[in-house]
Point group: C2
Chain length 338, copies 2
């Protein structure tokens, strides 16, 4: 059935909404000490998992999340037809090396912290398009590999700005199928790159907020849904500063998502954990989705969820060259059929 699934130019409505039949989450020690400890499948005791480097550990975290998700349905890696995954490291090495170990045909995606949404919506299109019956969508980040790559040597103990966020050590993996039981991916909106001229790499939340607002506005316009259609609209990792800015911008756009709007970066840690503006990293939205949020959907506590994962698209090189920081946001609607 090749119905026209597209509604408007940026949103897709699926003919046969793919099912998230299983999911898995692995997080670091700090994330385990936050409010959601028992909602994650696996909380690590340290940042290395017995590996020699943080980079290898990050790759293992992704690998374990994928295996964990598959195992919940008694599946192994051989049962997955395709892996769609990404991370924040240069040349996507965490995902590449995990894909090597998992030996699943692999498409590498890069959307910075929006990657989990990119993987989910691309996977959903490939399933609904009739090309696959079971794919895995996943993303990972690691606090210490990100610090090393994007910021300062961790040993230096540089003080962070109040607007700065803490990169989450964690991964989430979702098993998507054409058939089965679980929340369904009913529609998606693919974002454009939006840049309002922010240049401070210590405030990614403000750089990404305009993209989140643009994508939500288009999503609601394309689908004709009011914002209260969703039990929860959740952005990826705007943090406290970015979420406040986004909320202000939503109101200016005539959208009032409160009280059903929140942000994974705001929720993942306790205020007492010293994370300044909140959590970030593509493992933030991925682990919150494949931990607490999908659990709430399975329990019927949330029946309609809109995940708007957001990414800041600069690199340290171009940031040093004076470039502004563009953002992107992709939205994925998950719904329980009651």
């Amino acid at each position: 059935m090749a119905a026209i699934k597209k509604r408007g130019k940026q949103s897709i409505a699926f003919s046969s909404p793919p099912v998230i039949c299983a999911w898995g989450s692995v997080v670091g020690p700090k994330e385990g000490k936050g409010p959601w400890n028992e909602k994650f499948d696996l909380v690590l005791e340290d940042y290395l998992l017995g590996e020699k480097t943080w980079e290898r550990a990050e790759s293992r975290i992704l690998e374990e999340a994928v295996k964990l998700a598959l195992s919940k349905k008694g599946l192994t890696t051989g049962d997955a037809e395709l892996l769609l995954a990404g991370d924040l490291l240069n040349q996507l090495v965490s995902s590449n090396y995990a894909a090597r170990e998992l030996a699943i045909p692999f498409l590498g995606l890069y959307g910075a912290c929006s990657t989990m949404a990119e993987a989910l919506l691309t996977g959903a299109m490939l399933l609904d398009g009739g090309f696959y019956e079971r794919v895995v969508a996943a993303a990972v980040s690691h606090h210490y590999t990100s610090e090393r790559q994007f910021r300062f040597p961790t040993e230096q103990g540089v003080q962070k700005a109040p607007t700065a966020q803490w990169t989450v050590t964690g991964s989430g993996a979702a098993v998507l199928q054409t058939a089965g039981v679980g929340p369904r991916i009913t529609c998606a909106t693919i974002g454009k790159v939006i840049d309002l001229g922010q240049t401070d790499p210590g405030d990614m939340g403000s750089a990404m907020a305009p993209a989140a607002v643009d994508t939500l506005k288009i999503h609601l316009d394309d689908t004709g849904r009011p914002s209260d259609y969703y039990d929860l609209i959740i952005t990826g990792d705007l943090g406290n500063v970015g979420m406040a800015l986004a909320t202000e911008m939503f109101v200016k756009q005539g959208i009032c998502p409160k009280p059903n709007y929140s942000d994974c970066g705001v929720l993942i840690y306790d205020d007492s954990q010293g994370v300044n503006s909140g959590g970030s990293g593509c493992g933030c939205a991925a682990s919150m989705l494949c931990g607490p949020l999908l659990k709430k959907m399975a329990d019927g506590e949330i029946n309609r969820l809109l995940l708007i994962a957001t990414g800041a698209l600069m690199s340290p090189t171009v940031s040093f060259q004076g470039e502004t920081i563009p953002g992107i946001a992709h939205a994925v609607a998950l719904e329980n059929y009651c």
Copy 2:
């Protein structure tokens, strides 16, 4: 029509093969001095295009290739529903900033030098799946941004190993449509990450050759096609060293693709150009495809082409940590309907 398009686990056969209705290529001065000068749409006079940095220039090269491809059918960026693109730079900045300027909804892909094939096959699935009518697939690389990022400061003039390759300055963009006139994407094979333990970052061709062989073997098995079904089987950028190794491995697998096998990295430069083992970079396969190769298809000189774009998936960080270099290869079959 939701026919089962999948043949075997890794290959896709399209129900309504998408059409490459237009294409564009932009290359640097050195590439213009090679054997294909007049086959590229635009040969640059320098490496900066009037920009202040090579990074900005790389982004512009991608932007221009996309606009050029669209313009050939009288289209502008507003006519493209989706951009699928990638590059080699950290955090995919060339593509991100080009997508910002182009303002087309954007999915960032990272497959190292296999990115053009990843973009083509993903785009083809999204068209054949009924989600879009027109998307653009593109990739770019730039010699001097790659040197800066992956190797040594260019000013240092470090001597290269005989096995080393020259990163191509160039981009290719293809406009894919559900309907129209042009070569069609009839099938595709998505690769696994293959790692035979190579550790020399000065010999990427040998690191990628096993992935190319694996993907071609699976493609031929899945589709039941003999290797001489294709007028040309062309790998992305194995270069002379990698191509010789791949040829040897093909024979061991019982595949004898000669005389219809070649490699974009071997073809793009003249031997006299001092490029050691040949060309590389995701702009290599992209510009060769969207320049000389699609021109040959339009002229009926080639009617069946299998592009196997290959990527080496390590980063300098993990390479310094002693990791081996895994490779990936994706195959895309392009056919003229006679």
